[in-house]
């Protein structure tokens, strides 16, 4: 009975893992195949040759490198903006009682539920007047709007879990409120803030609708690939899918222990 249970467990584990990992494995194989191999049929399930041809093509196509850079820049600006807006807000939510706190919290979550098309389309004309259209800052601004609700909720949760007593102790021993925040709360919540920022990075890196609509020349990687979808060969698409996924997967590895804490509040 015990052996049977153990066996069933291993089988279940394998099936679930395969379901998740196999597609990731297959896109990796496809990306490291030669152009001919991509169109060959039937394929070998295990790759015979290892080729950087597709990857070379992908990076040498016009706009790929710059869109890669653009994606990083947009994500970086988004991180900074999210940091500067979400930290004071989360501090207010977790350390003060004020009128309308709970309703504001719910409202912020609701803003995340607004469809991106509803935000992105009307923003174009607003951006044109501010000359933010086709501008990386403009994309970062809307990515910030998308990332803020969750990052504030996540960060409030992190702050709340750190006992107020620590800051009070600092204040009693002569620190100002700001110093208590900088010397106590900030270092104590650093891992959580890092996790939140990684989540924000992934949000920005992955976002495609707004980035496509708000840019023409200065495309992010997602927007670049979406834009060329009709006109590009399979190996370009595969490499695109691969390079869109890799940074995000690497980053999520670092916050794996934080995922539960971040979503526990729902």
């Amino acid at each position: 009975m015990k052996i049977f249970k153990k066996f069933a467990q291993i089988i279940t584990f394998t099936i679930i893992s395969l379901w998740v990992l196999l597609p990731v494995f297959l896109i990796t194989v496809s990306t490291f195949s030669s152009k001919q191999e991509v169109y060959k049929w039937p394929k070998n399930l295990l790759p015979k040759d290892f080729s950087l041809e597709s990857i070379k093509f992908f990076f040498s196509s016009y706009g790929t490198i710059s869109s890669f850079k653009n994606s990083l820049i947009v994500a970086f600006i988004t991180l900074i903006l999210v940091l500067f807006i979400s930290i004071p807000s989360a501090y207010a939510f977790s350390r003060y009682y004020f009128k309308g706190r709970e309703s504001l919290k719910i409202f912020i979550l609701m803003t995340r539920m607004l469809p991106i098309p509803l935000l992105a389309v009307p923003l174009t004309s607003f951006y044109i007047t501010l000359s933010l259209y086709d501008n990386l800052l403009g994309v970062a601004l809307i990515h910030t709007a998308m990332a803020l609700p969750f990052s504030i909720i996540i960060l409030s949760g992190i702050f709340i879990r750190i006992s107020k007593e620590y800051e009070e102790a600092a204040i009693v021993f002569g620190a100002s409120k700001l110093k208590a925040f900088l010397k106590i709360l900030l270092p104590l919540s650093l891992p959580g803030i890092a996790a939140m920022l990684i989540f924000t990075f992934i949000t920005s890196w992955n976002e495609v609708f707004a980035a496509s609509i708000l840019t023409v020349e200065n495309r992010t990687l997602s927007a670049h690939i979406l834009n060329l979808l009709d006109a590009s060969p399979l190996y370009f698409k595969y490499a695109g899918g691969f390079f869109l996924s890799v940074p995000a997967i690497i980053f999520i590895f670092f916050i794996r222990n934080y995922l539960m804490k971040m979503w526990g509040g729902f």
């Binding site: 998740v20 003060y96 539920m113 607004l114 601004l141 869109l244 794996r256």
Partner: protein
């Protein structure tokens, strides 16, 4: 001094409030304006009339709803089963949880492209079927000639990508259920299925509800995964918004689509909240 202290939280929230004003209220009302007002700022329904004349509009609604009602329950069931499995806390359950959360990092566009390598006629699925001897020639999964197959392919891709978030929410919920309840049910002789139906599911209802709402709302915004696998062969609301803005450069119609998305989203959320709001259940006869 005292006044200062009282308004301090609002000062901290100021950047956020400003942001909400500029990047939520501003586009929201502008969308309504674009959808209902013409160039001379006069109220009009011509854009909606035009929308209704577009045959793709109705198929977009049809397919969007079809995706929502198929994917969401499917994800919920898959995630629930995996969550129950992971929650057994065996050696390796943490690893499995991490593996299962990988798709959380993958965008819908990337997921579409990943599954393209599986479903395309030169893809892995066809090769696999060939090796099993099931087929001689490639099957065209992604063709307009077989829309149900195309729909299913997209369904599989989106199900793979977005189940992770439901899983995380459900596991977080499961972990909050005190073991005492389950132990108690055990002591009083409830078997595995009774434990699930009478203890776990009722206690998990708040998590199920939030997962359901989040997933449904995002299902209405399905976009890149559809375009990557089906191009414009299967219209969905977000995709149409994109096309109307991006190709036809008509922000009025695009806004109309966006308004339809939000109306449908609000409608479904309201329905969920009405039927699923967590009340203390009254058990009269078990």
């Amino acid at each position: 001094m005292k006044l200062n202290e009282k308004y301090f939280p609002y000062v901290l929230l100021l950047p956020l409030l400003l942001y909400i004003l500029l990047f939520f209220f501003n586009p929201f009302f502008n969308a309504l304006k674009l959808a209902f007002f013409d160039e001379n700022n006069k109220f009009t329904l011509i854009y909606f009339r035009e929308l209704l004349r577009d045959p793709r509009f109705f198929s977009a609604i049809k397919y969007t709803l079809m995706f929502a009602v198929t994917i969401v329950p499917l994800q919920l069931i898959t995630a629930f089963l995996i969550a129950l499995f992971i929650n057994r806390n065996f050696k390796g359950s943490k690893t499995l949880l991490f593996i299962c959360s990988i798709p959380l990092a993958i965008s819908d566009l990337a997921a579409g492209l990943i599954f393209l390598s599986i479903f395309t006629e030169h893809g892995f699925l066809n090769s696999f079927f060939y090796f099993l001897g099931l087929i001689k020639k490639p099957v065209y999964f992604l063709s307009y000639e077989n829309i149900p197959l195309l729909f299913t392919s997209i369904l599989i891709a989106e199900h793979w990508r977005a189940t992770a978030i439901v899983l995380i929410i459900l596991i977080a919920g499961l972990q909050m259920i005190e073991k005492d309840y389950i132990d108690a049910a055990n002591v009083f002789g409830a078997n595995f299925f009774k434990r699930i139906f009478y203890i776990i599911i009722p206690l998990l209802k708040p998590s199920i509800q939030s997962a359901l709402i989040i997933r449904t709302l995002f299902a209405f915004q399905m976009f890149a995964v559809v375009i990557a696998l089906a191009g414009d062969m299967i219209p969905v609301l977000s995709g149409e918004t994109y096309f109307w803005y991006y190709i036809y450069r008509n922000s009025h119609i695009a806004s109309c689509y966006a308004v339809v998305i939000i109306i449908l989203s609000l409608l479904l959320t309201a329905i969920y909240l009405k039927f699923l709001t967590y009340k203390e259940p009254v058990y009269e006869n078990i």
